[in-house]
């Protein structure tokens, strides 16, 4: 990242052959610099880092993305195939992305917007209520309040739930211990794991929400 001390952690959206696709939002100076890169120019990356969702095609999986948490779900959802259900939520119509890419998977795709300007009016947790009973597993990425509510619903239905988390990050490899996420130990105590190396995907049951 020219002129910046820290790299930017960005999830892989899709993989095709020897190409990876990333989709990101301009949130600050760093992503603005990245967005201004010219086609054909070279950027320096360290990849791949961390874990991912463990996909089992024999299971009926619900993939839930919220906002800029939608892109990281594409490759996993496609790997899971037609049997899965995708629920993507956005702020409003202008924020809707990757609709066609998800529809190409051939699975059921549900889209919501917070203000009802596109798709279902409401949050991803609204349509989730209708499909959750049939699910074997939930995979989700998005804002923390959304993930917290999804984790709660999954727990109520005794469905395994995996969430991809974000945290302010420095080294990206597990050396600096910056990107901590609170984990509830079995004895009720708290300890920290790290998004870059232990995650970004965590079992929602162990996360200290």
């Amino acid at each position: 990242m020219p002129g910046k001390t820290l790299r930017r952690p960005i999830s892989v959206c899709d993989v095709e052959g020897d190409e990876i696709r990333i989709v990101f939002e301009i949130r600050g100076e760093g992503t603005a610099i990245l967005a201004a890169s010219e086609v054909g120019s070279t950027i320096n990356i360290i990849a791949p880092l961390g874990n991912g969702f463990e996909i089992d095609q024999s299971k009926k999986t619900i993939f839930i993305g919220g906002g800029i948490g939608v892109p990281p779900m594409l490759y996993s959802a496609r790997t899971a195939g037609e049997n899965s259900v995708v629920i993507n939520g956005f702020r409003d119509k202008s924020a809707v992305i990757l609709t066609e890419d998800f529809q190409k998977i051939g699975c059921r795709v549900i889209e919501t917007t917070d203000n009802g300007s596109y798709g279902i009016h409401g949050f991803v947790t609204d349509p989730l209520k209708e499909v959750i009973a049939d699910a074997d597993m939930i995979c989700a990425c998005g804002p923390t309040p959304m993930l917290r509510n999804i984790a709660k619903a999954a727990k109520e239905h005794h469905i395994p739930c995996f969430v991809s988390l974000e945290q302010r990050m420095a080294c990206g490899v597990g050396a600096c211990l910056g990107c901590a996420v609170g984990i509830r130990k079995e004895d009720g105590g708290l300890r920290y794991k790290h998004v870059c190396k232990d995650g970004p995907v965590f079992n929602a049951e162990e996360v200290d929400w």
Binding site: T5, L6, R7, Q167, R168, A170, G174, A175, C176, A180
Partner: protein, 302 residues
């Protein structure tokens, strides 16, 4: 090719580039990218007597040409370090420096006594962690307190002892002299400068701990100034750190008075920095027909 080896308090380093404590853990992660022998030495993650969970997140904030951190000495405890980390580290052909932290004088004496009975090559005393209420920073903020903790620990320390100095003081040279007088074999400086950032939308500090330690290129000129002041004040070796990013920075820090250097935050920007800095040092020394990096130390002309 010029000789990059240096001797710090009787310990031989193949090159003067040491990984700074807290930026490389216990070496495993960067050791997957290159042999850790690219570093002359590694200062391990700050270690306490008992395991510490560290601070709640967020622990990191970026700053103009730098960053803040408030990790809070998350570490698995000294026994884990000795039995799980140290045997592997000792096989990596690099000098292993244990970084010892604590809350009380007793803690420091105890951990240093324990570490003195191991294979670590040196002990760096962390009396300047700004991110833990009882993180030892209170020991590092005046010449009197530095003298007291250094003298106390010295009695239990049979390894070469480095005192890591805080820049959050009025007179860094006086603090360094106090460490030297009380038995330090070397000093390293600077630890991070205490800083703070606020999210203007939420009006809350970005870092959960409110304040954090500032590092990175932005602090480099402060570090150069302090190393220069300390080198004039003491006879023991001076390890210079704080924002070193390029080989040119390394040359500058050595000219200011550093006998060895530590690099930290730059590893996050470019994990391969130690290799590039070593190559650059070689090139600089060769092109200036200087045989040994030791001949460059303190050569600033004022």
């Amino acid at each position: 090719m010029a000789n990059l080896s240096v001797n710090i308090a009787g310990v031989q380093f193949d090159n003067p580039i040491i990984a700074a404590s807290g930026t490389i853990g216990f070496g495993h992660e960067y050791g997957e990218l290159y042999p850790l022998s690219v570093f002359g030495g590694i200062s391990c993650k700050g270690t306490t007597l008992k395991e510490r969970p560290g601070n709640p997140p967020p622990r990191i904030a970026e700053t103009p040409m730098g960053m803040l951190n408030a990790v809070g000495l998350q570490n698995p405890g000294v026994e884990h370090f000795i039995h799980t980390e140290l045997p592997w580290l000792k096989k990596q052909n690099t000098v292993v420096i244990a970084n010892a932290a604590g809350s009380t004088e007793e803690d420091y004496c105890k951990i240093v006594e324990i570490l003195s009975d191991t294979d670590v090559d040196m002990i760096e005393l962390n009396i300047s962690c700004p991110n833990v209420k009882e993180g030892g920073a209170q020991f590092g903020t005046s010449p009197e307190s530095v003298a007291k903790i250094t003298a106390a620990v010295r009695k239990y320390c049979t390894k070469p002892l480095i005192i890591k100095l805080s820049p959050n003081v009025a007179d860094i040279a006086a603090v360094a002299k106090a460490a030297e007088f009380s038995g330090a074999d070397a000093v390293s400086l600077i630890n991070t400068l205490t800083g703070m950032r606020i999210d203007i939308n939420t009006r809350r500090p970005i870092i959960k701990n409110i304040t954090g330690g500032m590092s990175g290129p932005a602090v480099f000129p402060v570090a150069v100034r302090m190393v220069w002041q300390v080198k004039k004040a003491v006879k023991i070796p001076v390890i210079g750190l704080g924002g070193i990013t390029t080989w040119q920075d390394a040359v500058e820090m050595i000219m200011a008075g550093a006998d060895a250097i530590q690099i930290g935050t730059v590893l996050f920007t470019d994990p391969y920095a130690p290799i590039k800095i070593a190559e650059g040092l070689h090139g600089y020394l060769d092109s200036h027909e200087i045989d040994s990096v030791t001949q460059l130390t303190g050569t600033v002309e004022v």
